[in-house]
């Protein structure tokens, strides 16, 4: 029987904080049931079980930050006897009292900036615990003065620093790592999302040699088809142009497989299916790119419905674990309020990103005649380690082709 582990909710995630259990020991669970909520640096995510069974033991307490892969709970098959509830206690030699709260700092310490002169060539000395606590409390280590051996920053220094930063809390009687489950404020969440986006995008620009190609695609046929389709549908069952674009991208990715997959360990791993990432901007700031699995196998209405639900979950900040699992190609669409075109940044470890600018009437020459037609400028940002401009152009050509035949979408 499988254990429930901290999933990786995106290639950049290394750890997550368990916020809440939705099950208790003894509960029966089925594949797909939401069992817990986890806080990544980006969002609160509901995670699902991939097994049927009975919850044996909850291993990780709410509020604990654990690395990806850590067992969160154990499951047993229905009817199987429970495992030992707790590890065998060591021989009770001496009762171990709960650690007392950290001593309050005598006076607020004015943080000094890191010493610039004669700065050591090596990384600043920060204990692993101090780093972790700083991350949990949102403390910028650059503003913390180290008082440990050789000027190392230790936990005490980080906690002291929080007393001078408004809006952060010192964990009073709680032990770090077992902090009471306090959900982060909107500001903290935004800052953390911003930091996560920053890290991922910086990594992308550092590691991936991008090239970009663009193509203006006439959407007259596609949008005429869409208008006709929507005319007969109640609002809830109508389609948005975005759904057509996603569908066309998923199909085109089959024609040019070099854009669909991941690049890891110096090797391109093409993906058999298209797990389509959708960049969703959050009005409060930041962008998140959850994914639609097997987008190439979904009919348009299903794709539209998935997109709608995914967007709603992303906007409410309640994404599920499976929403963030391993996109193989991402689409960013600026929408009708957006700019004419977007030359995007690839989400590592993916190898391409398709961008759509706003759909607008533009002058287009067709058969020697100039006319006003609704067009979109599509771009492809490709990873030059995996593909070249020629193949990228073919992807856009294929996309164009599919959008000219909306009946086949």
């Amino acid at each position: 029987m499988g254990d429930l582990r901290m999933p990786t909710l995106g290639a950049d995630m290394t750890a997550g904080t368990l916020l809440e259990w939705h099950v208790a020991p003894g509960d029966a669970v089925h594949r797909g049931d939401i069992v817990a909520t986890v806080d990544t640096d980006k969002a609160e995510i509901d995670i699902e079980t991939f097994d049927d069974g009975v919850v044996d033991a909850l291993v990780v307490e709410p509020g604990t930050r654990v690395p990806v892969g850590t067992v969160l709970a154990t499951l047993r098959a229905d009817g199987e006897v429970p495992r030992m509830a707790a590890p065998v206690a060591p021989e009770p030699a001496v009762a171990v009292p709960a650690p007392p709260p950290p001593a309050p700092s005598a006076a607020p310490v004015v943080s000094a900036p890191p010493v610039a002169a004669a700065a050591p060539a090596h990384r600043r000395r920060v204990s692993p615990l101090a780093r972790r606590v700083a991350a949990d409390l949102g403390v910028d280590l650059a503003a913390v003065t180290g008082t440990g051996p050789a000027g190392a920053i230790t936990r005490v220094d980080v906690e002291r620093a929080t007393t001078t930063v408004p809006g952060t809390t010192v964990p009073g009687t709680t032990v770090p790592g077992r902090a009471a489950v306090e959900r982060r404020s909107a500001d903290e969440r935004l800052a953390s999302l911003r930091a996560a986006v920053a890290a991922l995008m910086a990594r992308s620009k550092r590691e991936i040699p991008h090239y970009t190609v663009q193509r203006t695609i006439d959407l007259t046929a596609a949008l005429d088809w869409l208008d006709a389709y929507n005319a007969g549908q109640p609002p809830a069952r109508r389609l948005l142009p975005a759904a057509l674009l996603l569908r066309a991208v998923a199909l085109a990715a089959h024609d040019v497989p070099e854009v669909n997959g991941t690049y890891e360990d110096d090797t391109f791993h093409p993906a058999p299916d298209v797990t389509l990432g959708v960049a969703i901007s959050l009005r409060q700031g930041g962008v998140i790119a959850p994914a639609i699995p097997n987008a190439d196998a979904l009919a348009l209405p299903d794709l539209m419905s998935d997109l709608r639900e995914l967007t709603a979950r992303a906007r409410r900040g309640v994404l599920r674990g499976t929403d963030l699992g391993g996109a193989t190609l991402t689409v960013t669409s600026l929408g009708d309020q957006g700019a004419d075109l977007v030359c995007g940044v690839i989400f590592p470890p993916q190898v391409a990103l398709v961008g759509f600018g706003r759909i607008a009437e533009r002058p287009v020459a067709v058969n020697g005649m100039l006319g006003a037609r609704r067009t979109v400028i599509a771009t492809l940002a490709g990873d030059h380690r995996v593909s070249d401009g020629h193949r990228g152009s073919l992807l856009l050509a294929s996309l164009d082709h599919h959008l000219q035949e909306p009946d086949a979408l």
């Binding site: 590890p87 065998v88 030699a93 001496v94 230790t154 936990r155």
Partner: protein, 335 residues
């Protein structure tokens, strides 16, 4: 260990070992003791004194001065369904029996697909501090703790000295018990008459609770750590002391659990620092509690020399409480 001995101390570590032997010899006719000078002389360290008279020469057998021969005989007896307890005078001498212990005793169960077990118990003296010089004083526990197929025990207390042997005999596979030479004379309260059963041969224990730093030790080093912890109290440092007890399989969970609470660790080990028990413990902490560490793991070990004979040099080479205190101070605590 929990209450001060208000009345007279009434027993010793040596007495506890002897009572354990007596108990085992009485309980099972298949048990016998074999080793150099264990009979007429009463054991080089006096552990088996009186047992020859009580149990006779069939069961308290003086062996010739050949570790390879009498440990090998012990392996054969164990395969023949006896329950031999073989005493090797010091771990230094056990090098002569390594082939029997590592290549035969530890391996047969695995090599035979579980058809042959070797229920052998080997007791050996370890450690320095008694001016016996390099060939009688080393702490080579790590050599044995390295080997799959062995269970390796290091009783540091009178209770463990009293009760570990019986449990070791119940193990169908070979068990090595290290008795520290400096502990034989240790006085203390009588052992617990009705210990929790089965006797735990799996776990380390916390001998002293503390919140600031974990001192991890085994055998005699536990007492070094406890003495250091007492000194540290005056500096306002509450040190926790973990007694490993079982060196193989090593109880990483208890170590990690303690360090997760204290965020600092000092490993105190009478073995040498390089490629030894302290290195293993440190690695377990790194693997299991890296993100809990507020300082690098420190180690206080025997200096990397064959142990000297002169007392002042031997004292300088062995881990002393003050060196542990200094290591804790260097972490930014107390000092």
């Amino acid at each position: 260990m929990s209450e001060p001995a208000s009345t007279a101390a009434t027993t010793t570590y040596r007495e506890a070992l002897r009572e354990a032997l007596r108990d085992a010899l009485r309980a099972d006719e298949r048990v016998f003791l074999m080793g150099e000078d264990v009979g007429r002389y009463g054991g080089s360290f006096g552990v088996s004194r009186g047992l020859l008279d009580e149990f006779g020469p069939e069961r308290i057998r003086d062996a010739p001065l050949s570790e390879s021969a009498f440990v090998g005989a012990g392996v054969g007896a164990a395969l023949g369904d006896l329950r031999p307890i073989v005493e090797v005078m010091t771990v230094n001498f056990s090098m002569l029996a390594l082939d029997q212990i590592v290549n035969t005793a530890a391996s047969l169960s695995h090599m035979s697909g579980g058809q042959f077990h070797v229920p052998l118990v080997v007791r050996m003296t370890t450690g320095g501090g008694r001016q016996l010089a390099a060939q009688h004083s080393h702490s080579l526990e790590a050599w044995y703790a390295h080997v799959p197929g062995l269970r390796v025990l290091a009783p540091a207390t009178i209770d463990d000295a009293r009760w570990m042997l019986g449990a070791a005999l119940d193990d169908p596979d070979p068990v090595i018990i290290f008795e520290h030479g400096s502990l034989y004379g240790m006085e203390g309260e009588p052992w617990e008459e009705s210990p929790v059963r089965p006797i735990d041969l799996e776990h380390a224990v916390v001998r002293r609770a503390g919140r600031d730093v974990t001192l991890i030790a085994s055998s005699q080093s536990v007492h070094v750590a406890l003495a250091a912890a007492e000194v540290l109290v005056a500096d306002g440092v509450e040190a926790e002391v973990v007694d490993l007890r079982v060196l193989r399989p090593l109880d990483g969970a208890t170590i990690v659990e303690s360090v997760t609470r204290t965020h600092r660790a000092v490993v105190v080990d009478e073995g040498w620092r390089s490629v030894g028990l302290s290195a293993e413990v440190s690695a377990r902490i790194m693997e299991g509690a890296f993100y809990e560490l507020d300082a690098p793991v420190e180690r206080v070990c025997t200096l990397e020399v064959p142990l000297p004979y002169p007392k002042h040099l031997e004292d300088a080479a062995l881990p002393q409480p003050q060196r542990v205190v200094d290591a804790v101070h260097a972490m930014g605590l107390g000092g």
